[in-house]
């Protein structure tokens, strides 16, 4: 239990310490050391508890719970204050409703709010802790130097770095708390802390746009929060059959009809937090924040809390129409967001849509909830976290060097920033190519949906979704590897330290593929087995082939040596005109003209304006349907 408490409390301590650190060098030292401690502790957690199944801890309850309620009220007051300051009355209304509901819960059902075990750990929590502890803290390390450069580039933004790093570490602590809590009241408390943290981080630059987007994120997540409290009230009111506010007993409750209603409500909170449609706009708006914040929100925290809770409750969803409906919300989100990603040329917004799409896929797995799908969902969470954090951090570093985050401007990155281009290449491959992680998971999902009842709907959606996925990633990859001429290298000169996290995460992208059989058999399969009594895995022959493909990919670059000596170089064919290697050609009237290459964005078919609204409407209807269906089941 000490390790759990350490992981929750230590980041808070660091956060408070960072409030007083002004110099970058010192901050770098503090953050790096704490990242080492947090990463080390999460690995220790793995070694200590990986083979023990679910372990529960009583942990002190009374005072802590009281303190949490007090803090929640404080947070509500803060939101009301901020809402008043920026005239966002919706946020105030939601905060007041939420606070009122919490007070109602505490006063009316105070007798039903005692959990025997407040904390717990099982294999799924270990996986989440590893993601938060390794990826999250690496992002924090990267952020120190990034923020220094950020303020160089943006002198107009007020330097609030001490607050920034305070929130980052508080965020990490809340995430740890969320995945270790067995008391749903505690889960809710940490849930709200992550909402507020992301609000503060998104609004960091204090521009009008940032403030507006921060409030949008806040409002949408508060909406989910309200649903969460209602679920808690329902659970407390029906304690006899529902299992009260203890996660483990709720999941073990025999009365699935009673438990389904709170599960759907908490699932709704998960949907808002995971930015599924129609709530995707908050995550898209979050792009205005400095890049490490995006990396954090998209990979290891925030949205992962949303899908974490969905996967936790998927045994309840399994086999119900309400769960099926939630699954469909995810599936529709997956295909629509992937399609919109085709039309985006801003790297961060491609990444954002891809995150939304993948979260949708995870939700689809969790909603249908067969054991094979839960297995696939957890795989998706792992692989997505690793590859996506790499891509965001890479995009941030590139933006600082070339001054743009437009994919068209990344043309020829392999020439200008070779190291960076290779890392981005690996990150993108990690998102959609065999034998990398996301593809393994997608494959697993297809195999699982084939066997699920009415799985064909999902198969059809997945087939189209994965086709568009290939398109938008491959054309980005193409831009990176284009060998342009007469351009200088600009790799040097950027602070080198932030690259260390990038190297490590690149290594992780490859390592997770190589270690995937171990991760699956050591962590995911025991978890799935414990819940469902059955588990899925990839056939040994297939694993061997995947590893063979990986080995081939790692060896293939050696063949570059073969080509070194060969070949005369000619400029590209330009319709027979005299041309130079940098795409200049002899035009008419003796003028030299330049040719340029641009990617297709197919806006007419896949534009945001065309697809977003219909997707959002369908998903909103499906969410309502899930409530109705849960009600009917009762």
């Amino acid at each position: 239990m000490q390790t759990l408490l350490f992981l929750i409390l230590f980041p808070i301590l660091v956060a408070c310490l960072l409030l007083f650190v002004k110099r970058t060098a010192l901050r770098y030292a503090v953050v790096t050391l704490s990242a080492l401690a947090i990463g080390g502790a999460s690995i220790y957690l793995l070694m200590r508890y990986a083979f023990e199944g679910a372990v529960y801890f009583a942990a002190p309850s009374e005072t802590v719970s009281l303190a949490m309620v007090a803090i929640e009220m404080g947070l509500a007051l803060f939101i009301i204050y901020m809402g008043a300051k920026f005239r966002n009355y919706l946020a105030i209304v939601l905060a007041v409703i939420q606070a009122a509901l919490v007070v109602y819960l505490e006063t009316t059902f105070s007798g039903n709010l005692h959990a025997v075990n407040n904390l717990f750990i099982d294999q799924f929590s270990i996986i989440m802790a590893l993601i938060i502890g390794l990826i999250g803290s690496l992002i924090a390390v990267y952020a120190v130097r990034y923020m220094e450069t950020y303020h160089h580039h943006h002198p107009e933004v007020r330097d609030r770095q001490r607050m920034f790093f305070f929130v980052i570490f508080a965020f990490l602590a809340a995430m740890f708390g969320l995945v270790f809590s067995n008391n749903l009241m505690w889960v809710f408390f940490f849930w709200e802390v992550t909402t507020l943290s992301s609000f503060l981080l998104i609004g960091y630059s204090e521009t009008e746009e940032a403030t507006r987007n921060a409030f949008r994120a806040l409002v949408m997540n508060l909406l989910g929060g309200v649903a969460f409290v209602v679920a808690l009230i329902y659970l407390a009111a029906n304690e006899a059959t529902s299992g009260g506010i203890e996660l483990s007993s709720v999941l073990a409750s025999g009365d699935t009809a009673v438990v389904l209603i709170p599960a759907v409500l908490i699932g709704f909170a998960g949907i808002t937090k995971a930015a599924l449609m129609p709530f995707s706009s908050w995550l898209l708006g979050a792009m205005v924040a400095p890049t490490p914040v995006s990396a954090l929100l998209h990979s290891s925290t925030m949205v992962k809390a949303g899908v974490y809770i969905l996967v936790r409750f998927s045994p309840v969803f399994a086999g119900t129409f309400a769960g099926f409906s939630i699954g469909l919300v995810g599936a529709v989100t997956f295909v629509v967001a992937s399609a919109i990603a085709i039309s985006q040329s801003n790297a961060k917004s491609v990444l954002a849509y891809s995150t939304i799409a993948n979260l949708g896929l995870i939700a689809a797995c969790a909603g249908v909830g067969t054991y094979m799908l839960v297995w696939a969902a957890i795989l998706l969470i792992i692989f997505h976290a690793v590859a996506k954090s790499l891509l965001f951090l890479g995009t941030g570093a590139i933006e600082h060097r070339i001054g743009s985050r437009d994919i068209e401007d990344m043309e020829g990155l392999i020439v200008r920033m070779p190291m960076m281009a290779v890392m981005m290449f690996i990150g993108i491959a990690g998102m959609f190519l065999a034998p990398f992680g996301m593809l393994i998971s997608k494959w697993a999902a297809i195999e699982a949906f084939v066997q699920a009842p009415f799985g064909l709907v999902f198969i059809a959606i997945l087939a189209y979704g994965s086709a568009v996925t290939v398109f938008f990633w491959a054309k980005w990859m193409g831009k990176l590897v284009t060998v342009t001429r007469n351009q200088e290298k600009v790799e040097k000169g950027f602070f080198q330290e932030p690259w260390a996290p990038l190297y490590i995460i690149t290594g992780l992208v490859i390592a997770t593929v190589l270690l995937f059989p171990v991760i699956s058999s050591m962590l995911i399969e025991p978890y799935v087995l414990a819940i469902y009594g059955a588990t899925a895995r990839l056939g040994e022959a297939n694993v061997a082939i995947m590893l063979l493909m990986m080995a081939l990919l790692l060896i293939l670059p050696v063949s570059f040596l073969l080509f070194k000596r060969s070949a005369k170089r000619l400029p590209a064919y330009m319709g027979g005109r005299t041309s130079t290697p940098d795409l200049h050609f002899a035009g008419s009237l003796g003028l030299t003209r330049e040719a340029q290459t641009r990617n297709y964005y197919l806006n007419e078919y896949f534009g945001e304006a065309k697809l977003f609204l219909p997707g959002a409407v369908v998903c909103a209807v499906l969410i309502l349907a899930s409530w109705v269906l849960a009600g009917v089941a009762l």
């Binding site: 195999e447 491959a474 001429r485 070949a567 064919y573």
Partner: protein, 289 residues
């Protein structure tokens, strides 16, 4: 465990280029006859590729050779996996990986023509991918296995359960064989080509590798067609021959369409033929019948 799977893979790696080249020769001969020409000798494709290896090595950038080599290797690998009886989904994904390498090779060259070819190749990929996944799933639904070894040895006449899926697959086969009207990224016919599309900047031995990969690919695809008829080898081989002849015929009587039409065709057949077929099938299996 038996080693028969390895034999299948090795035989494919050795024989597929020969078979693929021969098929290409027959193809050219039939095409010529349809157009009222005599046509080249049967072995002309081999002479062509042989000559390509003799050519001077010329590149725009050396990196392009790397990607084309990777393309060849992964096409051969996915075909070998197929003939070794491997998992159909994994084969489809390896196949996609191979094509992404070809596309990257064209991108790497940084040339306007190969760039357009690369984009169009990606659009093709996007057009056929849904149908190919649905075909794999359909085969699974009938035979209860994703493994080619099980599907190929089944006693069930798969085609009777999956007529829609088969028609859909044949439609996207036109894309994969680079046949008109869907040969939008690069074509065998000079009359409808923007320069040479995706292969514009490949020459000499690199172009020869692209050609050999295409042979491997065709043999693999015809093997896929065979699966639908696998319960009876004789009917199977006849069906494969008829299908290929039909492709040649379509190739010669149609003109290239725009990419929008190619994309829509691929997606519509996947939806109208593929999904509908599977929906009816799953209804029948789950209790309708």
């Amino acid at each position: 465990m038996t080693w028969t799977w390895l034999i299948g893979a090795v035989l494919f790696l050795i024989l597929a280029p020969l078979a693929g080249g021969l098929i290409a020769g027959i193809d050219r001969k039939i095409t010529a006859r349809m157009q009222g020409r005599v046509g080249p000798p049967l072995l002309q494709p081999f002479y062509d590729v042989g000559k390509l290896f003799e050519k001077e090595r010329v590149v725009v950038t050396t990196a392009q050779n790397f990607y084309v080599l990777a393309y060849l290797i992964f096409i051969a690998l996915s075909g070998a996996l197929f003939f070794a009886g491997g998992d159909l989904l994994l084969i489809v994904f390896a196949f996609t990986l191979a094509h992404v390498f070809l596309v990257l090779g064209a991108y790497a060259a940084h040339s306007p023509y190969s760039h357009i070819g690369a984009e169009r190749e990606l659009i093709q990929l996007m057009a056929y991918e849904p149908m190919i996944i649905l075909a794999a799933v359909g085969l699974y639904m009938v035979t209860n296995s994703f493994f080619v070894a099980d599907i190929a040895t089944t006693a069930i006449p798969i085609i009777l359960y999956l007529p829609g899926v088969f028609l859909g697959f044949v439609t996207i086969l036109t894309i994969k064989l680079r046949k008109s009207p869907f040969d939008i990224s690069t074509s065998h016919h000079a009359h409808q080509e923007i320069v040479k599309g995706i292969t514009t900047e490949f020459s000499g031995s690199t172009l020869a590798q692209v050609e050999i990969a295409h042979w491997y690919e065709n043999v693999f695809l015809l093997g896929f067609v065979y699966l639908f008829f696998a319960w009876n080898p004789i009917i199977g081989i006849i069906a494969v021959a008829v299908t290929y002849f039909a492709e040649i015929f379509v190739d010669n009587v149609t003109a290239r369409v725009r990419w929008q039409a190619a994309l829509k065709s691929g997606w519509v057949v996947a939806g109208a033929l593929g999904i509908l077929n599977l929906a009816i099938l799953s209804y029948m299996m789950t209790g309708g019948a």
